[in-house]
């Protein structure tokens, strides 16, 4: 994972996790709720993300999510996770476009 302390100005940090019930990928929004789509994820600075990660981890069990961790993304609508792994988590498997999480036009914007 890219070091959070080395973010470039057009990058931010997203928090992600998996939902306990169905294992689906979720992204943490500004208000601390979890959403299915990366477009609703809060784009945090490195400092913000530290506190948010701590808070999210303590609330995780109560909110029905597990394995909270930070992801570096390029800012945008929606934000674009930098690593291929997180890109696939955000937008869906590259070999099954029919299962994509965000319409292709948006995903490639």
């Amino acid at each position: 994972m890219k070091r959070l302390s080395h973010l470039s100005p057009n990058e931010c940090v997203l928090l992600t996790a998996a939902r306990l019930l169905d294992g689906r990928i979720v992204w943490r929004g500004r208000d601390g709720q979890w959403f299915d789509h990366v477009a609703q994820a809060a784009c945090l600075t490195a400092e913000e993300s530290e506190a948010a990660l701590e808070e999210a981890s303590t609330q995780a069990a109560r909110q029905g999510v597990m394995g909270v961790y930070p992801v570096v993304a390029r800012k945008g609508e929606p934000p674009q996770p930098v690593s291929m792994k997180e890109h696939i988590r955000a937008f869906g498997p590259t070999v099954h476009p029919e299962f994509s999480y965000v319409p292709q036009s948006e995903a490639s914007s």
């Binding site: 930098v82 792994k85 299962f99």
Partner: protein, 556 residues
């Protein structure tokens, strides 16, 4: 109900056991959802029921013991794909099927549906004895010495919720074959068994400590001739040594191969013998009566060859060259002259290796029912074999497969690519493997080109766990991560079977497109410079990797 051909027919106690197991799992899921079990505690429990947490959702891996399914079971898998997943399943290199989009809440219901067709997901994961794999041509191949599936079933039962071996240092894989050809890669398993008949009943050659993964090792012979009566005792003793002495402090050093390597095969054998000496062997004896009782629950196919089958087949081949080509690559000699073994390729060019839609599953179930005694075999190369097809019916079978888009004539050829799910679906991956498999499949998709290239195995893994068996491919591809980007290492010269060897790394890792181009150049080089009749692997053996390396990297 009629007994199934090729696998064990459940009796009421087996069904009761499955119900008990499902009730247990349902309770575990409840405790997890209530918070009584932490994820750390739940994980090994769900894994022992085949449930992983993967990239996009939970994944369910259903066991297909020794690779054998009947039509009824395949239809049940189609039902699971439709009802609980997204209309497809993925056959793996371990003769299992995986569903990628499962919800934990649904899991007990799925297991109940599977149990209706005598299927389960027990021990398809976790640090226990995994699903026993076997030879896809078992009970049908001309070269076979004995059908290993009765013993595979005995091992399945023996290993099911074994009280002592359910929390081993690491997973434990056993494969069994009855062919001198070793079609199960016995030397690449924790234990590999090669069965053969003798005057005094079956004998088993036992290999131990093989495996791919991070540290690929070719297994070594532990015993040459274990009599049937002592088969279970010998396995018990081996596992006891492993459970007591296998490493538990380092995940990557915990497989039995490391233990065998560390102490040496000779001291390991002595330790197993010492264990056997302490055991009351009569207590562990596998009796002929027990074997006969299990065998009685397998139905044998009633073969009725027709007289002019060969002539009919020859006529079909003459009339339809596409069929003739498929016959050439996708069939294998049956012990009965009037029959053939047919392999259904799950590698349609441009599709994902091993993926099958619910419609295709239903279609295959119908075809197996019509032409092959309702018996299907899932192979470790991610294809499906129909064991007993009357030669005069092969043409109709092939036409049925064509309608399902499952008639690719590429078994054992360049298009028959083995690939793990890679980064698109697997949390452990470093790189994607499916897009590469698709590109290569399309690149060599042309049937005539594949025929010209001849025998070639391409294996792709998305990380060093090697689920795509990349070390065992004539050409192996390993996905690596280089500073956040996907790269691919090419290996050359691996093979499974009785001359098992591990592929050698060719050179620095390449990008996806460069890897495809490099492989294409290597194959061109082979076509231009091969001796007559020489296969790709034979040329690699003759010349070494240097000339291939040169062409692979010529533009880089």
């Amino acid at each position: 109900m009629k007994q199934p051909v090729g696998h064990y027919a459940y009796e009421s106690r087996d069904r009761e056991f499955l119900q008990e197991r499902i009730a247990e799992f349902e309770d575990q899921v409840k405790r997890r959802l209530s918070g009584a079990l932490s994820e750390e505690e739940f994980k090994p429990l769900r894994l022992m029921n085949g449930i992983y947490l993967q990239v996009h959702a939970y994944m369910l891996r259903v066991a297909i013991p020794y690779g054998i399914l009947d039509s009824r079971q395949l239809r049940k898998l189609a039902h699971v794909a439709r009802r609980y997943d997204r209309g497809y399943g993925h056959f793996t290199t371990r003769q299992n099927i995986q569903f990628n989009w499962i919800s934990l809440e649904d899991a007990p219901a799925i297991l109940r549906d599977l149990a209706e067709a005598d299927m389960h997901a027990i021990q398809t994961s976790g640090n226990c004895i995994r699903n026993i794999t076997s030879d896809e041509y078992a009970g049908a191949a001309r070269d076979e010495l004995m059908d290993p599936r009765v013993h595979a079933e005995i091992l399945r039962q023996w290993s099911t919720l074994h009280p002592e071996f359910t929390f081993l240092p690491r997973k434990f894989k056993i494969a069994i074959s009855g062919s001198p050809e070793d079609r199960v890669a016995a030397r690449f398993h924790d234990i590999g068994l090669l069965a053969r008949p003798s005057e005094n009943g079956p004998l088993f050659r036992v290999f131990v400590g093989g495996g791919l993964g991070r540290t690929p090792v070719v297994g070594q012979e532990l015993f040459d001739s274990v009599p049937e009566a002592e088969l279970l005792a010998t396995l018990e003793a081996t596992l006891r040594v492993y459970n007591a002495y296998g490493r538990r402090d380092n995940l990557y050093r915990a497989r039995i191969k490391i233990l065998v390597q560390t102490i040496g095969i000779e001291p390991f054998r002595e330790a197993v013998k010492a264990e056997l000496a302490k055991m009351d062997l009569s207590h562990y004896r596998l009796t002929p009566e027990r074997v006969a009782a299990i065998r009685a629950r397998f139905a044998a196919p009633e073969l009725h060859a027709v007289d002019d089958a060969d002539a009919v087949l020859a006529q079909h081949q003459k009339e339809d060259p596409a069929f003739a080509r498929w016959m050439q690559s996708n069939t294998h000699p049956h012990f009965d002259e009037g029959y053939s073994i047919a392999t259904v390729s799950l590698k349609t060019p441009g599709d994902i290796p091993g993926d099958v839609t619910a419609e295709q599953m239903d279609g295959l179930a119908d075809i197996a029912e019509r032409f092959a005694f309702s018996e299907l075999r899932v192979t470790h190369l991610q294809n499906i074999v129909l064991g007993h097809v009357r030669k005069d019916q092969l043409y109709a079978l092939w036409q049925g497969l064509k309608e399902l888009n499952l008639a690719a004539p590429n078994i054992g050829l360049a298009g028959d690519i083995v690939s793990c799910p890679g980064l698109d679906y697997c949390t452990l991956a470093n790189a994607r493997s499916l897009p590469l498999a698709r590109k290569l499949g399309a690149r060599f998709g042309d049937a005539r080109l594949q025929e010209e290239i001849g025998a070639l195995s391409i294996n792709i893994s998305g990380c060093i766990n090697a689920c795509g068996h990349h070390h065992a491919g004539h050409i192996g591809i390993l996905g690596v991560d280089k500073r956040g980007s996907e790269f691919y290492q090419i290996l050359l010269g691996g093979q499974a079977g009785d001359r098992a060897s591990i592929g050698a790394i060719l050179g620095p890792a390449l990008s996806e497109d460069d890897a495809v181009a490099a492989i294409a150049r290597m194959i061109d080089h082979y076509l231009a410079h091969r001796n007559e009749q020489e296969s790709f692997l034979e040329m690699v053996t003759r010349l070494g990797k240097a000339p291939f390396k040169e062409v692979a990297y010529e533009t880089v």
